[in-house]
């Protein structure tokens, strides 16, 4: 029963938040604005779903923002060179996946904490992106590419939203119904126990980072489509928002906990907060304070629940 309550609270908070903002500023509920929210949160949400997998397995990846940029400009180069949209996106995802594999391989072979490895990777990938583009935006992308970020399916549903839903279904399926997902939770819960149970821990850890990298690449492709250029400075600071989304949604930094739905709600809470604050004219500085407070509150509440369950057992 308590599991359901745990999942319901973030969702209820989100609804409550939406209601409050809608009452104060009815424009919030306009299709244009909601579409805007969807578009703005899409990039973070997509990466957050990959991050959910990595964090559930007990890891973390601080380099997602940089991977997004590096993968984004890779795709941009392909598109500027005349490749069709689908190839551009594939190139982005491949580049992201490659970065993810490097991260995963470094973590599993060097046996250094993921926090440290990806902290270094964050600088390295960003540096490569800046070096390769000489710090300048990649231009010459076909204008039709912008459809990926600004277009609508059936006149109503933003393309990025569709992509988010597809990714969400895929990751949810992976995490909850496949062996991959099962091993993910097991490794995050007790990596030694997983090893002794015969799970190929290193191999799966690399796969989780690979998936996150690929999704960061996808996010980079969408971000490039927003401005129809490849920006080597894209995604700066995104890693913390991505991690915050997972954590607000119930994911634990120590692993073994977290769900796709929770992460989406976490990302939406942050996105709605930002959007609402803009509509209400609240400065972005205040927004930062509020988001910080929300993160702490969400995690405190989560911990409180966990402890109450533990004392109730004996």
């Amino acid at each position: 029963m308590s599991d359901w309550i745990k999942r319901l609270i973030p969702f209820a908070s989100l609804i409550a938040l939406c209601v409050i903002i809608a009452v104060l500023q009815p424009k919030f509920l306009s299709t244009g604005n909601l579409g805007s929210v969807a578009r703005q949160t899409a990039v973070i949400t997509i990466m957050a779903m990959g991050m959910t997998m990595v964090m559930v397995s007990g890891g973390i990846d601080l380099s997602v923002g940089s991977v997004m940029a590096l993968a984004g400009i890779t795709g941009a180069f392909a598109l500027a060179g005349g490749a069709p949209t689908i190839v551009g996106v594939a190139a982005s995802m491949a580049a992201g996946a490659a970065c993810g594999v490097v991260n995963g391989a470094a973590i599993t072979t060097l046996r250094i904490p993921p926090f440290i490895v990806t902290l270094g990777a964050m600088g390295i990938y960003r540096g490569i992106a800046l070096l390769v583009t000489d710090g300048k935006a990649v231009v010459g992308l076909p204008t039709t590419y912008g459809y990926l970020a600004e277009g609508n399916i059936l006149r109503l549903i933003p393309v990025p939203l569709l992509i988010v839903v597809t990714v969400a279904l895929a990751i949810h399926f992976l995490l909850s119904r496949t062996r991959l997902g099962r091993y993910c939770y097991a490794i995050g819960s007790n990596v030694e126990a997983a090893r002794y149970a015969g799970v190929r821990v290193a191999r799966y850890q690399i796969i989780f980072y690979l998936i996150l990298g690929a999704l960061a690449g996808l996010a980079g492709a969408i971000e490039s489509a927003r401005l129809v250029t490849g920006q080597p400075t894209a995604g700066e600071g995104y890693e913390l928002r991505v991690i915050a989304a997972v954590v607000i949604g119930g994911g634990s930094l120590s692993g073994g906990q977290g769900t796709v739905i929770g992460t989406i709600i976490g990302a939406l809470i942050m996105g709605v907060l930002a959007n609402g604050a803009n509509l209400l004219g609240i400065s972005s500085f205040t927004q930062q304070i509020v988001i910080g407070a929300v993160i702490v509150l969400a995690v405190t509440f989560d911990e409180f629940q966990r402890r109450r369950l533990e004392t109730a057992r004996s």
Partner: protein, 518 residues
């Protein structure tokens, strides 16, 4: 209980959690200078009762009296202030601090009180003095994280003796200790008795209690079903009070029918842990591995399983040589390892029985990418029934289960994985009496069905009751192979102990071994 005033009296203690009555009208009296044994199966309420005493929980009704005065504790520090110290089963030392720092944690001798500057020299001297007096061979300046589990337990005990003024509660204090250390501990306990401390001693090891217990209270299902002087009733009767029924044949008999060699180990060695180990196990056999702590038994089975690489020697499984053993290949080849420390290396504590149980063999439940949840549930139910796992709820979080049931879940993991060769490292450590006998029953069934079992154990009666042959390790070498039907505890110990002193002390520990357990 009348002539002297009890140092501690708990009267009419009732406690319920979420509607479940955990303690019902429990009385416990402990006198100064006496050891009061508290026994009962897991889940009987011993921990809850002690946590009430320690101020961690509040009783719903009932009184606690210290030296005849009523006390009530709002928090654990109140209990401490009243002179009650606890040694928990889960150790609570700070690994990054030294032994001396841990012993005096919170009451460090100060060289300049206003600034709180610690007098390190005095602290080390006093700690060294205490350790020497108790006969513990531990250097007060070592970091706790470098100590073995046994030494950590001794440090924990030392720390509690500093805190305890009236009552000391010890929960399974000997679980990680060798016979030698247990003798030291008992000497310490006698000294604490002379000091006038009332000691409450919780243990499953009835044979140990023979050496130190003065009184006994038995808890069952939250009630005190027996209270009296130690020795008034026999061991069988104690067990009957604990379990509520006769436990015949704790070691079920098994006819020996051996088949082919399933596991063969030749000159196996791992630098610094063990060397030149050679033995074989046939299908239908149970091999016991005895030895003192540190003899290399756990390291041996871990190496056979492939958790760590061997430095020399060969492993043959089902007739085929294993090159570069790894846990994943061991599992698919039908080798299972029940690790020594189920919390650290066995269970995913925050997960359900089902998930823990199926972890080693998810491929049998997978159809393409996805896991057949229905089949999984059926498989889990099957194992739950087969092993009498309680509560029989496949979605129960394992963290909330008793040690015995947790162990059964892990055993079920290997059964479900189709293992044919089992490496069991201390399979009944921290497991209560009735769960133990069930685990023995399962092991025997496995052997009867043709599995080959290797059982590492520090419980000699267990080895003598379960094994066909007993291998003895000493300081990393295999020094003896004994016929379990013909050997005795003394003979095993003689091989296991390094010198005369250790051997004598070990026999001292097990002298009165007989009766109900065999």
């Amino acid at each position: 209980m009348a002539t002297q005033e009890s140092a501690l009296e708990m009267r009419g203690i009732n406690k319920s959690f979420a509607g479940n009555a955990v303690l019902v009208d429990v009385n416990l009296s402990a006198r100064a200078g006496e050891v009061h044994a508290l026994v009962g199966e897991n889940g009987a309420g011993k921990s809850t009762l002690m946590k009430i005493l320690a101020g961690v929980y509040h009783p719903d009704t009932g009184k606690i009296l210290i030296d005849g005065r009523k006390v009530s504790f709002a928090r654990p520090s109140d209990a401490l202030a009243s002179g009650i110290a606890m040694i928990y089963q889960e150790l609570s030392l700070a690994p990054e601090l030294t032994v001396a720092e841990n012993i005096f944690l919170g009451r460090e001798p100060l060289s300049f009180a206003p600034l709180g500057i610690v007098n390190r020299r005095e602290m080390n001297e006093r700690a060294t003095g205490m350790l020497k007096k108790y006969g513990f061979k531990i250097d007060a300046r070592t970091l706790v994280k470098r100590l073995s589990a046994a030494d950590r337990q001794l440090v924990e005990i030392t720390r509690a003796t500093v805190e305890a003024k009236r009552v000391l509660v010890m929960d399974e204090p000997t679980s990680s200790l060798t016979a030698h250390e247990v003798a030291d501990l008992f000497r310490l306990i006698r000294e604490l008795k002379n000091r006038g401390l009332a000691i409450i001693y919780i243990s499953h090891r009835l044979e140990e209690l023979d050496f130190i217990a003065d009184r006994l209270t038995v808890l069952r299902d939250g009630r005190a079903v027996y209270a009296g002087v130690w020795g008034e009733i026999s061991r069988t009767e104690i067990i009957r009070h604990m379990a509520g029924r006769e436990l015949k044949e704790i070691f079920p008999l098994r006819a020996a029918a051996k088949g082919e060699v399933r596991l063969r180990v030749a000159n196996l060695a791992r630098e610094g842990k063990f060397s030149d180990v050679t033995f074989e196990v046939r299908s239908g056999e149970v091999i016991g591995i005895a030895g003192l702590a540190g003899a290399g038994r756990t390291e041996l089975v871990e190496t056979i399983f492939g958790a760590y690489p061997a430095d020399a020697g060969e492993i043959h499984l089902n007739g085929a040589r294993v090159h570069k053993a790894q846990p994943e290949t061991s599992v698919t080849r039908g080798l299972g390892l029940l690790t020594e420390d189920r919390q650290r290396t066995g269970l995913c504590l925050n997960q359900s029985v089902t998930r823990n149980l199926t972890l080693a063999n998810l491929r049998s439940l997978a159809r393409g990418l996805w896991i057949d949840a229905k089949r999984e549930k059926v498989a889990a139910q099957e194992q739950i029934e087969k092993l009498h796992i309680r509560p029989p709820d496949p979605d129960k979080t394992v963290a909330r289960m008793s040690g015995g049931n947790q162990q059964k879940v892990l055993l079920a993991r290997w059964l479900f994985a189709g293992s044919r060769v089992f490496l069991l490292d201390e399979p009944t450590r921290g497991v209560d009496v009735s769960a133990r006998s069930e685990i023995y029953r399962v092991i025997n069934q496995l052997a009867k069905a043709g599995a080959a079992v290797v059982m590492v154990s520090s419980d000699l009666p267990e080895l003598l009751g379960m094994a066909d042959r007993i291998l003895v390790m000493r300081r990393g070498r295999l020094v003896a192979e004994l016929d379990a039907r013909k050997t005795t505890q003394e003979e095993i110990l003689r091989h296991a102990a390094v010198d005369e002193e250790e051997s004598q002390v070990s026999s001292f520990r097990f002298q009165v071994r007989d009766g109900a357990m065999r």
